[in-house]
Symmetry: C2
Subunit: 156 residues, 2 copies
């Protein structure tokens, strides 16, 4: 969910810091991993898979909903009370790129002897997929050939 109307004065100028305000917490990222990579939606499933305390899980999911990264929806199974499930918004789906970059770094720099537990493939052709820098002609650019350049809106 974009917030073009928010107050620039209260937001960090650094885009990384603004992203970390939403996802800069280990539990939050693991919740998003379950949602984005394993299609988990139900509170009880997040709790069981992560072994996270219910109050922490509830707080983190609430933050993600407030941030527009997830939506909360009621559901009810026969004979049960109403429960809630959590679903990624389009902004939440875009977090897959961050999660994949974290995954790739771990596989390359903290490999396990048994190999990666999850691999990425293109849905149509089944080809291996990695995260990379690409330019506006869709040409890949090596990591050491990318420059980060301050704009006029960089804080002085």
């Amino acid at each position: 969910m974009k917030r073009p109307d928010h107050d620039d004065r209260t937001e960090p100028a650094c885009s990384i810091a603004r992203t970390l305000e939403v996802v800069g917490d280990k539990w939050t990222l693991l919740i998003l991993r379950e949602a984005a990579l394993a299609n988990v939606t139900r509170f009880a499933d997040f709790k069981d898979r992560l072994g996270v305390a219910p109050d922490i899980l509830s707080a983190r999911l609430g933050t993600l909903v407030d941030a527009g990264v997830m939506t909360k929806q009621p559901y009810r199974e026969p004979g049960s009370r109403t429960r809630f499930s959590y679903h990624l918004t389009p902004a939440g789906e875009e977090l897959r790129l961050i999660l994949a970059a974290l995954q790739q770094w771990g596989d390359e720099n903290r490999p396990r002897a048994v190999g990666p537990s999850v691999v990425r493939r293109s849905a149509d052709l089944g080809r291996p997929v990695r995260v990379a820098f690409v330019d506006d002609t869709d040409t890949t650019v090596p990591t050491d050939a990318v420059k980060f350049i301050r704009t006029a809106s960089y804080p002085s």
Copy 2:
């Protein structure tokens, strides 16, 4: 620094969790931002730019050195005592992809009215650079066309 000899039994099977063991902390990521994107190396410069308490900074830098993401080197200016600077290893340089993915998400989903404070360009051609999924033929793959597939080493 790769650690092919580490003990699989004590490491999480999830590559994302292993990466977060190294960088899953807001201060750590901000330190890496200064190192990777602004070429900061000196303890005093990290402290001044981030406004972080010296004991926290010292602890975080120590963790990054232990993890093989940075190296610590002594330097001495005329008339001063020996001080230390911190430099990214090749594994540390590869974190640029994670930082850029965080930056891009913030710019797209938490934009500021004044625009991004930092942009990415290719060093040789000066073209805009983004983070994207690409397959093994260097063809870009849309985020929603990437499947995350469990391997045989996924924990049961």
